[in-house]
């Protein structure tokens, strides 16, 4: 009898990014999956469900070794996955009221089933955190589109400055410098300012400063008036200026 194969039993990922690169797991994750595949499957399930492996390894076994009926070991894996998912996704729901968080959680669960069916879970084996972010942002976006960005009457107050919205947006954009940068870098640069902002102010900054929309276009997206967007940008500018003065 021949000695048989000795190459890796770990299945490669197949999803390709927008730039045409196939997703690849980090080396440490590959090694962990390889080691877990040496074990009897129920033992591997127990380790992953018990939090003794990386979440990427948990997702690997969840996707590829589903029995045709419920078993205690696999059920524990399913529950562990959803627990980790909700725990990691919680921060994306913090700005929203309780009833919306419940809807978002329900929506995320449905989306997970769709992604499992469509085999879209590769990103979770590359970075669980990135997969969670992608899932929850999609959920939040879908719910917000249905509910709209509702702005309360208390928010309709006059800004102190005579500065126009465009001037405020330009001033904020100046912080980003002149050279091209990534959206993540832009968010990081504005991070210290963003922390001071209400969600509506962040939206206005995002639409006008990051996406280059006019106040009118941003207002249409936000479901409010041009004037409201102008006030939001002025308020944001005022907060950023106050922060600069306090340095």
């Amino acid at each position: 009898m021949t000695d048989g194969r000795s190459y890796s039993a770990v299945q490669p990922l197949t999803r390709v990014s927008k730039k045409g690169e196939t997703y690849v797991r980090p080396a440490a994750v590959e090694q962990e999956i390889e080691a877990a595949l040496d074990l009897p499957l129920n033992e591997a399930f127990r380790l992953a469900a018990g939090g003794h492996t990386r979440p990427q390894t948990l997702v690997y076994f969840l996707r590829r070794f589903r029995p045709n009926r419920p078993t205690p070991e696999y059920n524990a894996l399913v529950l562990a996955f959803f627990t980790r998912l909700e725990r990691a996704g919680k921060r994306h729901l913090q700005p929203f009221p309780e009833h919306m968080r419940e809807r978002a959680t329900e929506w995320v669960t449905t989306k997970v089933f769709e992604w499992l069916e469509d085999d879209r879970m590769d990103i979770f084996e590359v970075s669980f955190k990135t997969g969670v972010e992608r899932l929850y942002l999609t959920a939040v976006a879908a719910i917000q589109l249905r509910m709209g960005t509702e702005l309360s009457q208390e928010d309709l107050r006059e800004a102190d400055s005579d500065e126009t919205g465009d001037e405020a947006a330009d001033a904020l954009a100046y912080r980003l410098g002149q050279s091209p940068m990534s959206a993540a870098e832009a968010k990081a640069q504005l991070a210290s300012v963003m922390k001071l902002m209400r969600p509506e102010e962040r939206l206005a900054i995002g639409y006008v400063v990051l996406l280059g929309m006019t106040e009118k276009e941003a207002a249409a997206e936000m479901g409010c008036s041009d004037r409201k967007v102008r006030y939001l940008l002025k308020d944001a500018r005022a907060k950023a200026r106050d922060k600069e003065l306090k340095k």
Partner: protein, 193 residues
């Protein structure tokens, strides 16, 4: 599970591209993406807005369990996923089965037990399932779903005086110990023997 409309899948693809750009791309690329997909502009903008307001510094160290009940999560999961049970070995002749066994470092006796679902699927090492799947042109998910099925009755037993019999599934380790594998291969699968 019902088939999703194609436009839903296209929208998901677009939002995946948006997320990738947000993580690594430049702002011009983001605007270009919105221009390229006017039919999904609203979703793109909503996604970007949600990304902007997400608190990157928020901790996810939380020991609370899922907000949905355990029963609810499991019920939904199994409702959506009845795993298929097609026999991936049915089209393989004796020669091919011998080849599969050799490639996967087992003997035909163990392979026979696997094809008849006589081995407890939870006791099989994951790498053997992966190798077997590749050797028979299947996917680990499909193969494992088959292996989880009920133990098959052996045809010859129909003619036995006592009639067909089914014994409980055996552990993989036991199948290896009683096999014709070389001591080296037995140690390979059971390093602690």
């Amino acid at each position: 599970m019902t088939t999703r409309p194609e436009q839903d899948k296209v929208r998901d693809d677009v939002l995946v591209a948006v997320h990738e750009v947000l993580l690594t791309g430049d702002l011009a690329e983001l605007r270009q993406l919105a221009d390229e997909h006017p039919e999904h502009k609203a979703e793109i903008l909503a996604f970007v807005a949600a990304w902007l307001v997400a608190d990157d510094d928020a901790s996810d160290d939380d020991d609370e369990g899922p907000t949905q009940s355990r029963e609810e999560v499991l019920e939904r999961f199994w409702f959506n996923y009845a795993a298929p049970a097609n026999d991936p070995f049915c089209s393989l002749d004796a020669h091919k089965l011998r080849e599969v066994a050799s490639r996967c470092r087992i003997d035909t006796g163990i392979l026979r037990k696997l094809t008849l679902r006589m081995i407890d699927e939870g006791s099989i090492p994951g790498k053997l399932v992966s190798w077997l799947a590749e050797a028979v042109g299947s996917e680990p998910q499909q193969l494992y779903g088959y292996l989880c099925g009920t133990q098959a009755e052996v045809r010859a037993d129909f003619f036995a005086p006592s009639g067909p019999r089914k014994t409980g599934k055996v552990e993989f380790a036991e199948a290896v110990r009683t096999s014709t594998l070389s001591p080296e291969l037995k140690r390979y699968w059971l390093p602690n023997i």
